[in-house]
C-alpha cells in the first residue's frame, strides 16, 4: 500500500511540470535552456513581430489562467498588451509582486534612461531602453535570475536547474570570447538604425550610432528628417529590424553609399535564429557581411 502511494506520488511529481508564460521568444529559449523538460512554455509574441505592437489575443488569457510563472522583459515594453491579458486571466499567482511573476529588466543596467519624459518625445520608455537582451553580457545575468526563480517555484527541480544553468553559462562564456574577438573588428564603424533596437549591442562593441531613421522613437521617418540624415558622412551600414519597412533605408543607403543590413532582434525573427546562441551568431554574420 505504502509502495503504491509512493509510486503515485512519484508519477505525479515527474509529470508535474512548471507552466511558464513568457512575453518574447528569447525569454522562452532562456527558460527552455534552464528548465529543460520540467517546464512547459507558452510564448505570447512571435519573433517576427514588432515587440512594441503585440496583439492581446484572448487565447493567451487561457494560458495565463493556468500558468505558475510569468516572465516579462519589462521596462514598459509590454505595456500595450500585457495589462489587459493579466487583468482577465483571473490568476493570483502571476500578478506583479507575487512569487509567480518575474520582471527581467530588474536584473540588468538599463541605458538611455530619459531625464524628462513627455509623449511629445515619441514612444519614450521612462525606465530606459528596453531592448537589453541584445547585449550578450546581460544573458548570463538573466539566466541566473530565471534559475533562481524556477528554484523558488519548484524546489524539487532545483538541482536540474542548477546543472542546466552551469552548462549554459559555461557555453555562453566560451561563445563570448569568440563574439568579443569578432565584434571588436567592427569597433568605430558608423551606422544608422531604424529604431533604437540594437543600442545595447552597439554600445557594448563600440559601434557608433550616427542616427536613427525614426525622427522620434516610434514615429515613422519623415522627409525633413531623412534630409538631415543625408548629410551624415562615413556611414557604412543602415540597420533595420525584420518588421521595419525597408524602402526608406534603401533610399538613404543608395544616396550615402551605405549598405542595408537586416538584423534579427529575437529568437525566431529569421529562420536561421533558432536560439540565443544563433541569434548573436547571425547578428555577427550579417554585420560582417555588411
Amino acid at each position: 500500500m505504502r509502495f503504491l502511494v509512493l509510486l503515485v506520488l512519484l508519477v505525479s511529481v515527474s509529470l508535474a511540470d512548471v507552466r511558464v508564460v513568457v512575453t518574447y521568444p528569447w525569454i522562452g529559449d532562456l527558460v527552455r535552456k534552464i528548465g529543460g523538460d520540467r517546464v512547459s512554455i507558452h510564448v505570447i509574441a512571435k519573433g517576427t513581430e514588432d515587440p512594441h505592437f503585440v496583439v492581446p489575443k484572448p487565447s493567451h488569457i487561457a494560458k495565463l489562467r493556468r500558468a505558475d510563472l510569468l516572465i516579462i522583459q519589462g521596462a514598459y515594453l509590454e505595456v500595450g498588451f500585457l495589462p489587459p491579458l493579466l487583468r482577465q486571466a483571473n490568476n493570483l499567482k502571476i500578478q506583479p509582486g507575487r512569487e509567480g511573476f518575474l520582471d527581467l529588466s530588474n536584473y540588468v543596467q538599463l541605458i538611455e534612461k530619459p531625464e524628462v519624459v513627455s509623449r511629445a518625445m515619441g514612444d519614450v520608455h521612462p525606465e530606459g531602453n528596453p531592448h537589453y537582451h541584445l547585449d550578450p553580457y546581460n544573458i548570463p545575468l538573466l539566466a541566473e535570475a530565471v534559475k533562481e526563480k524556477l528554484c523558488k517555484i519548484d524546489p524539487d527541480g532545483c538541482p536540474l536547474y542548477e546543472k542546466n544553468f552551469e552548462e549554459f553559462a559555461s557555453r555562453w562564456r566560451s561563445k563570448l570570447i569568440e563574439w568579443n574577438r569578432e565584434f571588436s573588428t567592427l569597433k568605430g564603424v558608423r551606422v544608422i538604425a531604424y529604431h533604437s533596437l540594437f543600442n545595447y549591442l552597439l554600445k557594448r562593441y563600440g559601434i557608433v550610432l550616427a542616427g536613427t531613421l525614426e525622427p522620434l522613437p516610434g514615429i515613422p521617418p519623415t522627409r525633413s528628417h531623412i534630409e538631415k540624415l543625408l548629410r551624415l558622412e562615413n556611414v557604412k551600414i543602415i540597420l533595420v529590424g525584420v518588421y521595419n519597412e525597408r524602402r526608406t533605408a534603401r533610399f538613404l543607403a543608395e544616396r550615402i553609399g551605405a549598405k542595408v543590413v537586416l538584423l534579427p532582434h529575437d529568437v525566431g525573427s529569421l529562420p536561421e535564429v533558432r536560439d540565443l546562441f544563433s541569434l548573436f551568431d547571425e547578428i555577427l554574420r550579417r554585420l560582417k557581411d555588411g
Binding site: T48, E49, D50, F53, V54, V55, P56, K57, P58, S59, I61, A62, R65, R66, V79, G80, F81, L82, P83, P84, L85, R87, Q88, A89, N90, N91, L92, Q95, G97, E115, V116, R119, G122, D123, G218, I219, P220, Y243
Partner: protein
C-alpha cells in the same frame, strides 16, 4: 534642450527642500483624459435619440464636443483594483463607471462590483473611444440607448481549458431606459408600482481560439429583467423583457501593423406586458407580446501602420444604415476619422493624454 530641461526641473529642486515627508506622489493612480470632438455636415435631420448624461454624439451640425472623459485606475490594496470613468460634457459630469475588481480570487474567479458596463454582447463593454465608427450600431441604440451601464455585481470565471472560455453572471439594478427600468409610474389615473430591485439579470459566455494568424472570439449573452418605461407622450410600458445576443469577431493579422477584422452582432428583444396610453382624459391598457431583432456587421481593414478603413451595415426591423470610415492614427494616442453614412459626414478627432491602460482584444 538640456538647458531648458534644467529650467523645468528647477522649481522641483527647490520644492524638494521643503517637501512634506507625508506627500505620496508615487501612489497617484493612473490618470488619463480623452477628448473627442467632431465636425458634422448633414442634410437630413438626425434620428431622434435620447439625450441625457453625456448626450448623443455628433448631434449638431457643425462643431460638437462629444466628451472629455477622465479615467482613473489603481490597485486599492493587494486584493482590489479600482477603475472610474467620469465623462464631462459642457453641462456637467457624471460617473459613468466606478467599480472594483478583485485581484486574487482562487480557481479563476473574479468579482466586479460598483457601476460598470455590462459584459452583455461584444460592443457593450467598450468605451466610446474604442468604437470603430462614430456611433453605436442601430440595435444597440434601439434596445440599450447609451449601452447597458448599470449598478450591480458581476462574477466571472475563466475555465482552466486550453482555449479561452469565460462564463459570467451579473445582477444589476436594471435602470436602462430603453429596455428595462424599475421605477413605477403614473399614466392618467393608472398607477404602476416599482419593480423588484435589483431588477435585471445577465448571463454571458465567451470563447476564443486561434487558427494560425486568425483569431476568433465569439459570445452568447442573455439579459432578463423587469421593465418600467414611460415615454413623454403619455405612453408607457410595464412588463418583462428578455434580450438575446450573439456575437462573432474574426481578426486576421498579416503582420504587426496590418490586419483585417470582421465583427458582427445580433440582438433579439422579446418583451411582454402592458402598454398604457393616455389621451388626456382616459388611460387605456393593452396586453402586448413584442419580438424584435437587429444586427450589424462590419469589416475593418488596417492596411498600413497608421491607417484603417472600414464599412458597417446595420439592420433593425426594416431600417437600414450603411457607414464607411477612414482613419489616420498618428500614434496610439491620437486619431483622425472621417465617416460617411446616413446622409452625413462626420470628421471625428480623438486624443488621449496621461497614463491610459492598454485595451483588451
Amino acid at each position: 534642450m538640456r538647458k531648458l530641461g534644467f529650467l523645468v526641473l528647477l522649481p522641483w529642486v527647490v520644492l524638494a527642500e521643503t517637501r512634506s515627508p507625508f506627500l505620496q506622489p508615487a501612489f497617484a493612480p493612473n490618470i488619463s483624459f480623452i477628448l473627442d470632438v467632431s465636425f458634422v455636415l448633414r442634410n437630413a435631420e438626425p434620428l431622434q435619440g435620447h439625450d441625457h448624461g453625456h448626450g448623443e454624439f455628433n448631434k449638431e451640425r457643425g462643431f460638437n464636443l462629444n466628451y472629455g472623459e477622465l479615467f482613473l485606475n489603481a490597485p486599492v490594496d493587494p486584493y482590489f483594483e479600482l477603475s472610474a470613468t467620469i465623462p464631462f460634457s459642457e453641462k456637467g459630469a457624471e460617473i459613468e463607471e466606478a467599480y472594483v475588481l478583485t485581484r486574487g480570487l482562487p480557481h479563476g474567479f473574479q468579482i466586479k462590483v460598483g457601476k460598470f458596463r455590462s459584459s452583455f454582447g461584444r460592443l457593450n463593454s467598450q468605451h466610446p473611444h474604442l468604437w470603430d465608427f462614430a456611433q453605436q450600431p442601430l440595435p444597440y441604440r434601439a434596445f440599450l440607448g447609451e449601452g447597458l451601464i448599470e449598478k450591480g455585481v458581476q462574477i466571472n470565471w475563466v475555465a482552466p481549458t486550453p482555449f479561452y472560455l469565460n462564463l459570467g453572471i451579473e445582477v444589476l439594478q436594471g435602470e436602462n431606459d430603453r429596455s428595462f427600468g424599475v421605477e413605477g409610474f403614473r399614466v392618467g389615473n393608472v398607477e404602476v408600482g416599482d419593480a423588484p430591485k435589483p431588477g435585471l439579470f445577465v448571463g454571458f459566455l465567451k470563447t476564443s481560439f486561434d487558427i494560425g494568424d486568425l483569431s476568433l472570439l465569439s459570445g452568447i449573452s442573455y439579459a432578463e429583467g423587469h421593465s418600467r418605461l414611460k415615454e413623454p407622450e403619455g405612453k408607457a410600458f410595464s412588463g418583462r423583457t428578455k434580450l438575446y445576443g450573439a456575437d462573432l469577431t474574426a481578426k486576421y493579422f498579416f503582420d504587426s501593423y496590418r490586419h483585417i477584422a470582421f465583427q458582427g452582432e445580433y440582438i433579439h428583444r422579446d418583451r411582454r406586458g402592458t402598454v398604457y396610453t393616455y389621451d388626456g382624459s382616459t388611460a387605456t391598457e393593452s396586453k402586448v407580446v413584442e419580438r424584435q431583432g437587429g444586427f450589424y456587421t462590419q469589416l475593418v481593414w488596417g492596411f498600413a501602420r497608421r491607417w484603417r478603413t472600414g464599412v458597417q451595415y446595420n439592420l433593425l426591423d426594416k431600417e437600414e444604415a450603411y457607414y464607411g470610415m477612414l482613419e489616420f492614427n498618428p500614434t496610439e494616442f491620437s486619431r483622425i476619422r472621417v465617416q460617411i453614412g446616413k446622409g452625413e459626414v462626420v470628421l471625428q478627432l480623438t486624443f488621449a493624454i496621461g497614463a491610459h491602460g492598454a485595451h483588451p482584444f
